[in-house]
């Protein structure tokens, strides 16, 4: 496929939707994929022990990499983003919350710090839930193109206005990213980010310009829609993929196992 601009090409590298459109599970019905992902997230957040989230994280990563054939490198680098956040916040939780038996205490510069069993369990819980939840979310993001998510939203009878709005927003995200990259490049080429002072100034300019461009694009959109007899309707294609009973059974079996693990390990504590 040919692409006209280098900026576009750069963006595409970052867009997960691109991978979603080429993944190996593209032919599986999107509703069943959404059920799998959302179901797993629900089990993750309602589980009281770290066992079920860990199981979900591992199985979702396995499915995404092995079945949907998403490159493992990409997957790991994506996972690092939320996990680094989770690690930092658990560190705080570890030191700040209390209860249970102390595992470790120290006095640092007169400030008493201690880690207790409860705080360790809570921190572990946060990390595993983040892991499990993110793996499930990435499963959805990397196997279901956003357009199909729209179609499922329509099948769920979400209001038309909400749907139309999300579709337009989806389209304009790309246009705005493109604009932002173009402006940013133009600024970099003229030393806009050479010093801290410069970068503050340039970034402010970029934000202001982006607002004006967005406004202009909106005006142009109205003209474009009017020219084509806009009457309040956007077309949606429902790609009616039927799901075979085997896949449905497999998905419900999987979710059943997740729920069973969560239930059976409800009282399990590591510390």
């Amino acid at each position: 496929m040919e692409r006209c601009e280098t900026t576009r090409e750069q963006i595409m590298e970052l867009i997960l939707d691109e991978y979603a459109q080429k993944n190996a599970l593209i032919d599986v019905s999107s509703s069943i994929k959404l059920i799998t992902g959302i179901g797993a997230i629900l089990v993750c957040i309602s589980s009281t022990s770290p066992v079920a989230p860990l199981f979900i994280a591992a199985s979702m990563a396995f499915i995404t990499i092995m079945f949907a054939r998403i490159p493992a490198r990409l997957y790991l680098s994506l996972l690092m983003i939320p996990v680094s956040f989770a690690l930092f916040s658990s560190l705080i939780i570890l030191l700040m919350s209390g209860g249970g038996v102390p595992l470790f205490s120290a006095d640092i510069a007169g400030v008493p710090l201690s880690i207790t069993t409860d705080s360790a369990n809570l921190a572990l819980m946060v990390i595993t839930r983040t892991f499990g939840g993110m793996c499930s979310l990435y499963f959805i993001a990397l196997t279901t193109p956003i357009i199909e998510v729209f179609a499922v939203m329509q099948q769920c009878r979400l209001p038309r206005g909400l749907l139309d709005l999300s579709m337009l927003i989806y389209h304009f995200i790309f246009i705005l990213i493109g604009e932002a990259i173009t402006i940013h490049t133009a600024q970099v080429l003229r030393h806009g980010y050479d010093s801290f002072r410069n970068s503050l100034h340039s970034f402010a300019m970029l934000s202001a310009m982006l607002f004006i461009r967005a406004w202009q694009q909106g005006e142009e959109l109205i003209v474009a829609m009017d020219s084509r007899c806009y009457d309040g309707q956007l077309e949606l294609t429902i790609t009616g993929r039927r799901t075979g009973p085997r896949i449905v059974t497999a998905v419900f079996l999987y979710l059943g196992i997740c729920i069973w693990i969560a239930y059976a390990s409800a009282a399990t504590r590591i510390f």
């Binding site: 989806y170 246009i175 474009a224 829609m225 084509r228 007899c229 309040g232 956007l234």
Partner: protein, 389 residues
């Protein structure tokens, strides 16, 4: 029959701006190929936005097929269905998440029969050479593909008049030639086509009527050679004489040619020169042109034909024909201005094969006949699969 589009003394100013149209007058006949030419800021885009009622003139009247434009919402819908506008910037025209949804936008809003829409979309994607693109998001397409997708979105409403604002400005030369071919094709189906452009070569070669604008008024409307032969008009509007015409004028000024009417194409200039300067009668016998409709001739047959006639020049017209050539690794000698190039080859005794699609087969015939009328030279054209080799 009344002109399909007529402006009478149209005035317009954007809010808080000096007026951008000061009494525009022109009329366009049905089936014409019109180029709207003028410097930056002449008011071309403003004028185009008036043709489908996006802007409303302060003074003056716009008539569509004889009846004045009305601005209530149901009349506007009718107008916008009949006058399709393709924007310069395809990104602002393609706003749906997929090509299919974008093309279906017009018909859905016009309340056309839901059952028929998928078929209409397919048909129009086929017409612009984008079969199989229906599920792709527009932001993944190349510039030329985006332009084609936006044309499909307008074509699907079956307009009588198609308006293009700077259609070739963001396309590479091959893409631009492709697009102009598509416009010719649409024109051959009876659509009136209006383009705005800065490209004098394009306007001179393609249009049969030129509207020259400057500072918010139409300063001339007429045939391309009329407009471009008037040095005063050219300089006041920041334009340039097309290279072909410049060469011709200089040759006439040196008494090397009589002024028999400006040539519209390289073919006709070369032919005039040839008639004048070739002393001995034309060399060997003329070449012939074979036209192959890739929609009906099976590929094996085309391959076999090419293997049998390796010395034929090969050209392709239309996206599907070009795609086929690429798939089958048929090397092409000509990809734009194909008929003229084949005629030029025929004049020096080389034969050629034109790969093309159903809609464009007739165009070869018509062009060859027009050339015969102009030069009294007959070039043989045959259709592959018509019993001829």
């Amino acid at each position: 029959m009344p002109p399909i589009l007529e402006f009478t003394n149209v005035h317009y100013a954007y809010p808080n701006c000096p007026s951008s149209l000061n009494g525009v007058n022109f009329s366009i006949e049905k089936g014409a190929k019109v180029a709207l030419v003028g410097p930056n800021g002449a008011g071309k885009t403003t004028l185009l936005l008036m043709c489908n009622g996006i802007l409303r003139p302060e003074n003056g009247e716009i008539r569509l097929s004889g009846s004045p434009l009305r601005y209530d919402s149901s009349s506007l819908r009718k107008t916008r269905k009949n006058v399709g506008l393709v924007f310069q910037n395809s990104d602002s025209q393609l706003f749906a998440p997929t090509v299919y949804q974008d093309v279906a936008f017009g018909p859905v809003n016009l309340g056309m029969d839901r059952e028929k829409i998928p078929h209409m979309v397919d048909e129009n994607l086929h017409a612009v050479g984008l079969e199989g693109y229906d599920k792709r998001p527009p932001h993944q397409l190349s510039g030329g593909e985006k332009k084609r997708a936006s044309i499909a979105g307008v074509l699907v409403m079956e307009p009588d008049v198609l308006i293009f604002d700077e259609p070739t400005s963001s396309l590479d030369p091959a893409g631009a030639a492709d697009l102009m071919e598509l416009l010719d094709d649409l024109n051959a189906q009876g659509k009136t086509i209006i383009i705005s452009t800065h490209d004098v070569e394009l306007a001179y070669n393609w249009a049969d009527n030129i509207i020259l604008m400057n500072k918010g008024v139409v300063i001339h409307q007429g045939a391309p050679d009329q407009v471009f032969n008037d040095p005063a008009l050219i300089t006041t509007t920041n334009l340039r004489t097309p290279a072909l015409l410049e060469i011709y004028t200089e040759l006439v000024a040196r008494n090397m040619l009589e002024n028999t009417g400006s040539p519209r194409s390289v073919l006709s200039l070369v032919n005039t020169l040839e008639q004048k300067f070739r002393q001995n009668p034309p060399v060997k016998k003329q070449g012939a042109i074979t036209v192959c409709n890739v929609d009906i001739i099976p590929t094996e047959k085309i391959r076999a034909w090419i293997a049998e006639n390796p010395d034929h020049r090969r050209g392709a017209m239309g996206t599907r024909a070009k795609k086929l050539a690429e798939q089958e690794t048929i090397t092409l000698d000509f990809t734009y201005g194909v008929i003229d190039k084949c005629l030029l080859r025929a004049l020096i005794g080389e034969s050629s094969l034109i790969l093309t699609t159903t809609g464009m087969v007739d165009r070869v015939q018509r062009r060859v006949l027009a050339f015969e009328e102009e030069s009294r030279i007959r070039v043989a054209v045959s259709l592959m699969g018509d019993g001829t080799p």
